[in-house]
Amino acid sequence: MPELTYREAVRDALGKALREDDSVFIMGEDIAEMGGSMAVTQGLLDEFGPTRVRNTPISEMAIVGSGIGAAIQGMRPIVEIMYEDFLTISMEQLVNQAAKHRTMSGGQISVPLTIRTQGGAGWSPGAQHAQQLEAWFVHVPGLKVVFASTPEDARGLLWSAIYDDNPTVFFEHRTLYSIKGEVSDELQPIPLGKARIHREGSDVTVVATGRLVHESLQAAEEAEKDGISVEVVDPRTLLPLDEQTIVESVKKTARCVTAHEAVTRGGFGAELAAVIQHAAFDWLDAPIERVGAAFAPLAFAPGMEQWAVPHADDVLEAIRRTVARG
């Protein structure tokens, strides 16, 4: 099987969609000649030209909003918001427009728009360039929310996001762009709303997203040495959520840890914990543990930054706490 980096995998899906479908175009700040601030769209301008690979002004409302308008007219725009911190500027268009047109029109309109963005800590940019805001969007009916953690997932899920007829916010994690992973020869679409079991285990289920999938797999290896068998599940799509796979896993293991890089308070882990405790209350042997960042704007100094966000050892400790409950 070929290997791709996460970055190349995203680019592969974009390129294939642009190649096969005239209704697809991409736009965002600095995505053309420069290939985006994360170099994801490099080379696409050369292949597809400036009409379909469009640099935009610094206008997050208009980027998302014009994407909405083009999508309603039957295009499949993919817009890039350079950092997910800047999604906050386009919030009105996302929440009040993209998510609601279909309902408000009584089903007359659909908005097949994909909003790609990225974020994440690990490079000391300070508080405005590394947030993880995915949970905000899970609260909005009408949106779909994807967070890919591997090259294969990024490619297959992005494809499905592009071809979904709903507005989909697609989160990429900055520190994952360079990771390599095996991918199938041909792009395999991965349906939205299907979780992936990365590792089977029988004592604890860790439900993790984004970078924390990798940290959790590492924690699982460590736990294994102590004789704790850990199952790691990545929902991949946060909205809609594959409740069945997650709940079945917890019914099997009777213990659960949620893990994401976003701050714990009000994070996606809270939603997971609520879903799980309700569906598997009688199966649980311990309180659900939540792993996430400390509740503070992300500090700049590397020491503080690394302290604030969770790592494998935080997941491992949480695993141990659940097991210690007997």
Partner: protein
């Protein structure tokens, strides 16, 4: 849209008398519709939050008459006139206001979210400035596909202070998309007069186009013929590939901001004078020399049409409550 022949054979400024009479009729229909809305709201029959555009009928009628059916519009909270002028039958709009399945948004939208995609109404927006970026995107789609269509955003003077207005104007001009930005400048944002919300004299608001290098076309928004001709010119400009247009229409809101607004902030004498001198329907009626008899014939027909719309709406179907989930996802 007027045919070339119609325009050629008409006298005056370029619009045939027959067409002007059509405008008169539609404007009066909008007026009677909105008066009925006020009336039924006061009677407690209409739920929700309602804004009428009494005094602004000429902008809705004049603009939409110059558009083709396949052109699209985005409307505002003051939406009834735009919806009627773009071609949605009044009974479907009334049914929407009553929250019925027969409504133009099937009861999901309400007064501030009137949609009718078939006639090119992409929806009214309750967020001031909310519809503008989408219109840039629609125009971009038309341009990319080589379709001869324009996308039109209605908005008020208050909306020109929002970020989406500036981002949309800028982007539309940068990409020279066939968009028309229709500024319905009534000099008020709710209770706030132009002097407290605009850094320019209210009459000069069109100057904002210059900041983007955008074509500006201005017309008296109380003169439906002028609005119509200005819109034709704007459309021609946009379709010629010359880029978007800011169409600045000075108009007058001859009523409260919302239905039930006591207008404590407004000078009563001034309002009275505006009602007497700025009513676009009266102005056109005088020009066309529509006498009392003729007026009451037309008025009788339109009043009956509106009454029938109310009956249609009341006899409509209430949506099943659990259908609230029906259109969340495509």
């Amino acid at each position: 849209m007027a045919t070339v022949e119609e325009r050629a054979e008409s006298g005056g400024r370029g619009v045939s008398e027959a067409m002007l009479r059509g405008f008169f009729r539609e404007m009066l229909l909008i007026r009677r519709f909105e008066e009925k809305v006020e009336d039924r709201f006061r009677a407690g029959e209409l739920p929700g939050f309602l804004h009428v555009a009494i005094g602004q009928e000429a902008t809705a009628t004049g603009v939409c008459a110059a558009l083709a059916r396949e052109d699209v519009i985005a409307s505002t909270h003051r939406a009834h006139g735009h919806a009627i002028a773009k071609g949605t039958p009044v009974e479907r709009i009334m049914a929407e206001l009553y929250g019925k399945v027969e409504g133009c948004s099937k009861g999901y939208g309400g007064s501030m979210h009137l949609y009718d995609v078939e006639v090119g109404n992409l929806g009214a927006n309750a967020v001031v400035g909310g519809g503008l970026p989408g219109i840039v995107g629609a125009a971009l789609a038309f341009k990319m596909r080589g379709e001869k269509r324009v996308a039109v955003a209605f908005f008020g003077d208050g909306a020109t202070n929002t970020g989406t207005f500036h981002e949309s104007m800028n982007l539309a001009q940068l990409w020279t998309v066939p968009a028309i930005f229709v500024l319905e400048n009534n000099g008020w944002a709710e209770s706030t007069p132009a002097s407290q919300q605009l850094p320019l004299p209210v009459e000069e608001l069109g100057k904002r186009a210059a900041a983007y290098g955008m074509k500006l076309i201005e017309a008296d928004g109380q003169d439906v013929e002028a609005v119509y001709l200005a819109t034709l010119a704007a459309r021609e400009h946009a379709l010629a590939g010359k880029g978007p247009v800011l169409l600045h229409l000075r108009t007058h809101r001859l009523t409260g901001h919302f239905v039930g607004d006591p207008q404590v902030y407004r000078d009563k004498d001034e309002l009275k004078e505006e009602r007497e001198t700025k009513d676009p329907i009266r102005l056109l009626g005088a020009r066309l020399e529509i006498g009392e008899d003729e007026f009451s014939t037309i008025d009788g027909e339109l009043t009956a049409e509106v009454e029938a719309a109310v009956e249609f709406a009341k006899a409509g179907t209430d949506p099943k409550p659990e259908d609230a989930l029906k259109y969340v996802y495509a």
